[in-house]
Point group: C2
């Protein structure tokens, strides 16, 4: 026989995710109580403007502008305001009052995570954040718990739906980046100011959270190398497809060794060439997926909707049921583990393979010169493809395109190589440098 | 500052998974203690024969044949013996002594799950079984916890690596079932007696576990409709590929309504046509994947290694760290929730679409007759494809092949339709009936 006692839930924010959380909490109250072993009572929703229009019709009397008072009476606080302030202050207040907190706030976690986790640990409360990375996809709990006995080697995620939508259209429909972005904006996948998505800021926040979790090490946002997709051209995507790759914006978190062989971690976000046979290559549209390589488990992938109000609400409600169960059982929360405390290494320490495309003079000896430059910097060539030379109009000399695939090399070696190639007399220009991941 | 106190772990069984669990527990002791907040002390390994050869070299002094005494001194018991007895008795003994139990025993859970869960609940212990379904893939915890606030509509899993390996070779290499099975046996993917895999018994056990978990309802193994892959021909696989499908053995668990509109659940295992664009179609070799459709979260997929000693050990160790954390925190375990207690419906209540291949007389009016039979039984035609008629040698009349794709219809209607088609004068034979899933 299960005894029900109500757990008091305060909701901060009623945007696209928050309003769905409120709706489901109200509509599915009996079912959720059965699963949690406790009633989940929505005691109020704090918003800036009580009269604003919402996605969902919710009881007027639940709304308040006084978030601080609402928090005081709550067992569980769900923060879905987003941004740094007032979210951070409200979460710290909730934790200090002993409430468990559920948040989907990736920006806040990526920049102030350790402070929040410490505040939770001090009072034995728990901070849940399944909704912060990859929306509806269960990835936080699998990393924290299911893989808690394994050693994670690498996490590669398509964690931004907007950029995946754009790159997928460029790949499958041959659209330009500008056209695909315009359609993403029309369909509501991209915001009016798409900078956070297409410049990789959003993905970098998620990379910081995933890296911290996967490696039991606090990885600050500033340590995440970030490149967006604005430099990705229609021609690059087309050439990639011909070569058996698809271009994806990846968030990559790795356990690596530095030049001295010391263990560390690195996190980076950039466009990459993914072989067509890799499971990440089949992630289309605005879908997200996180590919995890672990020492014992091998390769795993978690796939699903990375955004959307009701989809993300599913992750929040899962955390809510967990928090309510914990409230019934009692005992301190599961502290965020950063006991491994590995060094966070810069991009230069990362090794990967590259595809370098060069516009070169079409004359004998060019390949030898280029190959020599690569060898000088310790970058080993795996494949070379030279297209037939073309003459530029009447005046210019003949030129050719050289596409070089390299073996694994350090980023620092690559940077030096690209510098040297740019300055070589036989090289007109370095057209494109793309990392190859998952090969 | 974390205080470490040892949690005593007893291991039952040292086969391919058990020996890897023991190895990792010993090798990664410090790391696991850091994550669990408690040392995980392997106090002994119960086996039938202490001197048997193992995959891994383990300290001789850990082995014992006295499982019952070993259990008595343990906080956590890991059962990796498999089969019903003595596994069941030992697990019940462990639970009654208050120990948490971790098991990968799908046969036992599928046939005696409710008894075990009840025994655990009575003493406030917890039964963990992440390793029982889809090996290394975290699927139990996501269903139990991450999706605890959502309503799952359907679970479709490739949960048997052996049959996926065989079907994948038939599809990609054009091999016959017998040839592919022989190679699976050679490579160790199939056992000497492959019945449990190729007849779908293994997948049916996993379907019972997944359905129980997804729908908060106890679904017994006998209620799972089961068909294996022995009836799948090279020709079917080839025809499927041409029509844009791949044949997969699926375990399908659904929330459905019966004829009277009452809610229930159904579980079934059978070969099915999966559209090439569906994420499950890209699951190759011996890999497993579980595709979940939830009301709020939408479509999710969990992909990875479904078997293997070290891979499955990862799932066991994840459960071990969870159990150890719970041991440190205290409080009762998370009881298995079967509060929804939906009716378990027979296959006849399931609706799906079908591809029916007929060998028919090549004469005018055949299609009208066949279409009439389908309409009579309420089965609506979506596509028809008729191949050019062929004459059988000199003597026989001309015949043609009719491939009919149907709209969704109840299994009961389909069964009646196939009966009527078999008895129709213009139909020489019903060559093949395959369900289409994920379209």
């Amino acid at each position: 026989m299960i005894e029900y006692r109500n757990v008091r839930v305060a909701l901060l924010g009623a945007g696209s995710v928050g309003s769905q959380v409120a709706r489901l909490l109200l509509e599915q109250a009996a079912e959720l109580a059965g699963r949690a072993g406790a009633g989940l009572e929505l005691v109020g929703i704090a918003v800036r403007d009580v009269d604003a229009e919402r996605d969902v019709d919710l009881p007027k009397e639940l709304f308040t502008t006084d978030a601080e008072s609402l928090i005081l009476g709550a067992d569980i606080v769900v923060e879905l305001i987003g941004g740094i302030e007032p979210a951070k202050t409200l979460i710290l207040q909730a934790l200090s009052s002993g409430a468990d907190v559920i948040t989907g706030n990736k920006a806040l976690l990526a920049s102030h995570g350790p402070e929040l986790f410490e505040a939770a640990e001090q009072v034995g409360a728990q901070l849940y954040y399944e909704a912060a990375v990859a929306g509806a996809i269960p990835i936080i709990r699998p990393l924290r718990e299911s893989l808690a006995g394994d050693t994670i080697v690498r996490v590669m995620g398509i964690v931004n739906g907007t950029t995946n939508f754009i790159l997928d259209r460029m790949d499958t429909l041959g659209e330009s980046l500008d056209d695909a972005l315009a359609i993403a904006t029309d369909l509501g996948y991209a915001e009016a100011d798409p900078t956070a998505d297409i410049e990789g800021y959003d993905a970098a926040q998620k990379a910081a959270i995933l890296a911290s979790l996967a490696f039991h090490t606090s990885v600050p946002l500033v340590a995440v190398h970030r490149e967006g997709i604005t430099g990705v051209s229609h021609e690059q995507v087309e050439a990639a497809r011909k070569a058996g790759y698809v271009v994806k914006l990846l968030a990559i978190c790795e356990r690596i060794s530095d030049d001295d062989g010391k263990l560390g971690v690195a996190a980076r976000v950039h466009p990459a060439l993914v072989p067509l046979g890799h499971p990440l290559a089949a992630v289309h549209g605005a879908k997200n997926a996180v590919f995890v390589e672990a020492e014992a488990a091998g390769d795993l992938m978690f796939y699903g909707a990375g955004a959307g109000g009701v989809e993300t609400a599913s992750a929040v409600l899962g955390d809510l049921v967990s928090a309510a169960r914990r409230h019934v059982i009692g005992g301190p929360g599961l502290a965020e583990s950063n006991h491994a405390d590995l060094r966070v290494l810069p991009l230069g320490s990362v090794s990967t393979s590259y595809q370098i495309t060069l516009d070169v003079a079409d004359q004998p000896g060019v390949l030898a010169t280029v190959a020599g430059i690569l060898a000088q910097h310790g970058v080993s060539v795996e494949t070379v493809q030279q297209t037939a030379g073309v003459t530029r109009g009447d005046e210019g000399p003949a030129t050719a395109t050289l596409i070089i695939g390299t073996h694994r090399a350090r980023e620092s070696s690559l940077a030096a190589t690209v510098d040297a190639l740019t300055n070589a007399a036989v090289v007109n220009s370095v057209t494109s440098v793309l990392r190859i991941e998952g090969a």
